[in-house]
C-alpha cells in the first residue's frame, strides 16, 4: 500500500486511468459522430468551384459603399444600436432591482421563490428569441430590440443584484430601522449605498454585452445595424453590407477599448 515512487521516475502508460481513456474515446466518438450526422461534404465545400464561388462572394464586398448619404445612414444605424442597448440595459437595471428585492428574500419565502423563478425564466430565453416574440408584440423596429434586451438582461441583472443585496452587511439598515426610520428610506440609505458600486459595475458589463447583441438583433427585424445588414444582404447589395459590417466591427472594437479604459479607471478609484 505504502509504496512510493522514485522521485522523478518517468510516468509509464500504466499510470493512465481507465476512465480518462474511456472519456477521451467517448468525446472522440461524439466528434466523429457529429461530422457523420451532419453529412457535410468537406470535399465539395473546399473544392475548386466552391472556393472560387466563396472568393467571388467575398470580393463582391469590395469596395465598400462610402457615399456620404449611405455613411450617414450607417452612422444613424450605429447610434440606434447604441441607443437600443442603452435604453434596454437601463430598463433592465430598474426592473432587475425591483425583482431583486423579493429575490433576496426580503418579502417572504413565497415571493422569493416566485421572483427567482421569474428571473430564471427571463434569463434562460436568449435575447434573439425574445426579439422574435417582441417583434410580434410591438411590431418591427428598434423598440422590439429594446424590449428583448430588457427582458433577458432583467433576468441576469436581477439575479446578480439579489446576490449583492444578500451579501451586503445588514447592520446599517437594521440600525436605521431601529431608530424609527421607515422601510424604504432605511433601504435607500442603509443598504443601497453598499451595493451601488457593484450594481453599476454589473450594469456596465451588461451594457457592453448588450451593445454587441443589439447589433445582431436586427436580423429578426429589431432595428439598428443588424436590420441594415440583413436587408442589404437579402437584396445582394454587398458593397452596402460591407460598410455596415465595418461599422459593426468598429463599434465592437470601440466598446472593447472603452470598457477596458473604464475598468482600469474604476479599479483605480
Amino acid at each position: 500500500m505504502n509504496e512510493t515512487r522514485e522521485p522523478c521516475a518517468p510516468r509509464g502508460a500504466a499510470d493512465f486511468c481507465l476512465s480518462c481513456i474511456l472519456t477521451c474515446a467517448l468525446v472522440a466518438a461524439a466528434v466523429a459522430g457529429s461530422f457523420v450526422y451532419l453529412k457535410i461534404e468537406f470535399g465539395t465545400l473546399f473544392s475548386v468551384g466552391a472556393v472560387t464561388d466563396m472568393g467571388r462572394f467575398a470580393a463582391s464586398f469590395f469596395p465598400p459603399d462610402l457615399e456620404p448619404d449611405f455613411l450617414r445612414k450607417t452612422a444613424y444605424g450605429a447610434l440606434q444600436t447604441f441607443a437600443v442597448a442603452m435604453v434596454g440595459t437601463l430598463l433592465a437595471a430598474a426592473a432587475g432591482l425591483l425583482l431583486a428585492l423579493p429575490a433576496a428574500g426580503r418579502h417572504g419565502a413565497a415571493a422569493e421563490r416566485l421572483s427567482r423563478f421569474l428571473l430564471n425564466l427571463l434569463r434562460s430565453v436568449p435575447e434573439l428569441v425574445w426579439a422574435t416574440l417582441m417583434v410580434l408584440a410591438a411590431g418591427l423596429g428598434p423598440f422590439a430590440g429594446v424590449l428583448a434586451l430588457a427582458l433577458h438582461t432583467t433576468g441576469v441583472l436581477g439575479r446578480l443584484f439579489a446576490e449583492a443585496i444578500e451579501n451586503a452587511p445588514p447592520q446599517p439598515e437594521q440600525s436605521l430601522l431601529e431608530t424609527g426610520s421607515g422601510g424604504v428610506p432605511a433601504f435607500l440609505y442603509g443598504t443601497l449605498p453598499l451595493v451601488w458600486a457593484q450594481a453599476v459595475a454589473y450594469g456596465l458589463y451588461r451594457l457592453e454585452m448588450n451593445i454587441r447583441m443589439a447589433a445582431v438583433l436586427g436580423f429578426v427585424g429589431a432595428g439598428g445595424l443588424g436590420q441594415m445588414l440583413y436587408f442589404h444582404l437579402s437584396i445582394f447589395q454587398q458593397a452596402q453590407a460591407a460598410t455596415v459590417l465595418i461599422a459593426m466591427f468598429g463599434l465592437v472594437l470601440a466598446v472593447d477599448a472603452l470598457s477596458d479604459r473604464l475598468r482600469a479607471w474604476m479599479g483605480r478609484n
Binding site: 457529429s34 457535410i40 435604453v87 428569441v129 423598440f143
Partner: protein
C-alpha cells in the same frame, strides 16, 4: 461653535439631495435623444392589431404540439444542434491550437536573451494575436448569415461560423492560460536547449492541461446555445425550426420547441459539468 451648529441642516434631510436631483435631471436630458433613437413607444404594445396577433400566438401555446411527426422533426433538429456545436468546436480547435502556440509569450525563445530573431519573434506573436482578434470580433451569427448566402441553408454554415468565432475566442484564452501558468519549467527546458514542442509538452501542458480542457468544455456548452441562435438565420438545427414556427405564428409548436430548448441547455450544462469533472 454655536453658529456653526445652527448652520447644520435639519437632521432628517439628505445633505446630498440637491446634487442628486441635479444629476438625475442631467441624466434624463441625456437619455431623451436615446429614447427617440430607439423609437421608445410603450403604447405600441397595446395597439389593437399587435394585441390580437400576440394574443392568438400566446393562446396557441396551450396545448403544446405533440404530434408524432412534429416530435420526429424536433428530435432530428435537436441532434443536429448538438452535432453543429460539437463539430464547430472541433474545427475551432484546429484554428485555435496552432494560433495560440504561435502567439503565446510562454514559448518564446527570443525572450531568453538578445538574439538575431528578437524582433521577428515579437512580430509573429503580434500577427497571431491580430488574427485571433479579427476572428472573434465579428459575432458568429453574422458569419452564419453570410455563409448561408454562399453555402445555402443548412448546418454547414453554422459549423463554419462557429469554427471561426470560437477559434478566435479559444485561441485568445489558450494564449492567456499558457502565459498565466507557472512558466519556469518551460523556461528551464528552453534555456537548456530543448525545442519548443518539448517545452510545450513537458513544461506547459502538465500544469495547464486541466484548465485548457475545462475551458474548452465550457465553450462547447456556449456553442450549443449559439448553434440554436444561428438557426434563426437559416443555419439549421433547433433555431431554424423555431424561426419557422414563429413566422407561421404556430404557438403550439413554438411552445414545445422553447421547452425542448430550455431542457437542452440544462442538459448541456449538466453534461459539461460531468465532463469537466471526469477530465480533471
Amino acid at each position: 461653535m454655536n453658529a456653526s451648529a445652527q448652520a447644520l441642516p435639519p437632521p432628517d434631510r439628505d445633505p446630498d439631495a440637491r446634487a442628486r436631483l441635479g444629476w438625475t435631471l442631467v441624466a434624463l436630458v441625456l437619455l431623451w435623444p436615446m429614447l427617440v433613437l430607439a423609437e421608445f413607444r410603450p403604447w405600441a404594445l397595446f395597439d389593437a392589431g399587435n394585441l390580437r396577433v400576440m394574443g392568438s400566438f400566446l393562446g396557441g401555446f396551450l396545448p403544446p404540439a405533440t404530434s408524432t411527426e412534429f416530435l420526429g422533426y424536433l428530435l432530428e433538429a435537436t441532434l443536429e444542434t448538438m452535432a453543429i456545436a460539437t463539430a464547430g468546436i472541433a474545427l475551432a480547435l484546429l484554428l485555435a491550437v496552432p494560433l495560440s502556440i504561435l502567439s503565446t509569450r510562454a514559448l518564446a525563445v527570443s525572450k531568453i536573451g538578445p538574439g538575431p530573431w528578437r524582433l521577428g519573434g515579437r512580430m509573429v506573436r503580434a500577427a497571431g494575436r491580430a488574427v485571433l482578434t479579427f476572428l472573434r470580433a465579428i459575432p458568429e451569427i453574422v458569419w452564419a448569415l453570410m455563409f448561408v448566402r454562399v453555402l445555402g441553408l443548412g448546418p454547414a454554415a453554422g459549423v463554419l461560423a462557429l469554427a471561426i468565432t470560437y477559434g478566435g475566442m479559444l485561441g485568445k484564452v489558450y494564449t492567456e492560460i499558457l502565459e498565466s501558468t507557472d512558466t519556469r519549467p518551460t523556461r528551464a527546458i528552453l534555456e537548456a536547449g530543448g525545442g519548443r514542442f518539448v517545452a510545450l509538452a513537458y513544461g506547459l501542458l502538465p500544469n495547464a492541461a486541466q484548465e485548457l480542457t475545462s475551458y474548452t468544455v465550457y465553450r462547447w456548452e456556449c456553442a450549443v446555445r449559439a448553434s440554436v441562435i444561428m438557426g434563426f438565420v437559416g443555419a439549421g438545427g433547433l433555431g431554424q425550426l423555431m424561426d419557422q414556427s414563429m413566422k407561421m405564428l404556430n404557438g403550439g409548436e413554438a411552445a414545445t420547441i422553447l421547452f425542448v430548448f430550455l431542457v437542452l441547455v440544462l442538459f448541456a450544462d449538466a453534461l459539461s459539468a460531468t465532463l469537466r469533472k471526469a477530465l480533471a
